[in-house]
Symmetry: C2
DNA sequence: AAGTTATACGTTATAATATAACAAATATCG
DNA sequence: CGATATTTGTTATATTATAACGTATAACTT
């Protein structure tokens, strides 16, 4: 996964440095939204005196490259589950793709969608009034299937089963 | 406008107190997104020793009543432009309606939409995977018609023309 | 009206998130 | 190599938000 990201960056002429790679690894390992300061704690295992700007700069890079997304409602970051797909990855252009996120308040899990219909509906509605969308944030909060049907899989921060 | 909000609250059995009314007035007067600490400054004109919890509690109430919205990308608040419409106002139910926001990076203006198609697209996409949406955040950043066609109307914080 | 409960507000302190500014190190390219 | 651009280290601070607890006000019940 990290190697794929590296190859993508090389193809784009951007540099996935050791630091950025470390941060990306931490985000991907978590498998759920992680706050910048949690990442900072994790980072300090390898980089003793790391400070907030260290992690925020790495996050900025990863966001630009579309390797991660920021969940605004949680002030947290998740790995992109689409960027490495053949259909989405490309060398040039504006890297962060439009995405939609489903946040389950039961188990904390976040699902990333890449739904053309939602994007279309948004663009249609805005074009009517002359607005040109450059970036969009679409986040829904609710209950995932498992949590609704009573099979909660609380893969939460505390790891409680 | 404030009086309409008051009538709505009375009909719902909630209390638009003087403090909450003051904060709502500040948000509506601004006509654009305002941060909590800007509101706090404004509030201090009337309430000398106001502190953060004062304004955040008022904002929480106004959000619950659907009288204002929070723009997540800006950590700022705007008055709802639909809640007082006859078609939207009602005494019971879950007050904060689904809304979409267009944020112009040119002039800072924010437009609120209440577009059924967008909501539908979102609900459709989520139902497929068993997810039940309770609340949604839809925010688009880009350029409004005026800013695109070169007639920027920078009604910004600093008031610079 | 008096007593009781619930709601709202005041106050202090602190948590959590994010950036500014500048110096030092490292990579890139002619 | 030497010039240039990019990345990282470091310190300090800005911005946004909440915890905790006591007091005041409103609403409800005898
Ligand atoms: Zn993605
Ligand atoms: Zn769940
Ligand atoms: Zn609204
Ligand atoms: Zn504009």
């Amino acid at each position: 996964m990290l190697d794929s990201a590296e190859r993508l960056c090389v193809a784009r002429g951007s540099r996935l440095t050791e630091l950025r790679r470390l941060v990306l690894g931490l985000v991907l390992d978590a498998g759920r939204p992680v706050g910048a300061y949690d990442l900072l704690d994790g980072l300090r295992a390898d980089k003793k005196g790391a400070a907030p700007p260290t992690v925020y700069r790495a996050l900025d890079f990863l966001l630009e490259q579309g390797l991660i997304h920021k969940i605004q409602r949680l002030s947290a970051f998740v790995g992109c589950t689409h960027v490495l797909d053949a259909s989405h990855a490309h060398a040039g252009g504006c890297h962060p793709h439009a995405a939609q996120f489903l946040i389950c308040t039961g188990c904390g899990q976040v699902t990333e969608l890449d739904d053309r219909n939602i994007v279309h509906a948004l663009v249609d509605a805005t074009r009517d009034i002359g607005f040109m969308v450059r970036q969009s944030t679409v986040e829904a909060e609710g209950l995932c299937g498992a949590c609704r049907t009573g099979s909660p899989v609380p893969a939460r921060a505390d790891g409680a089963p």
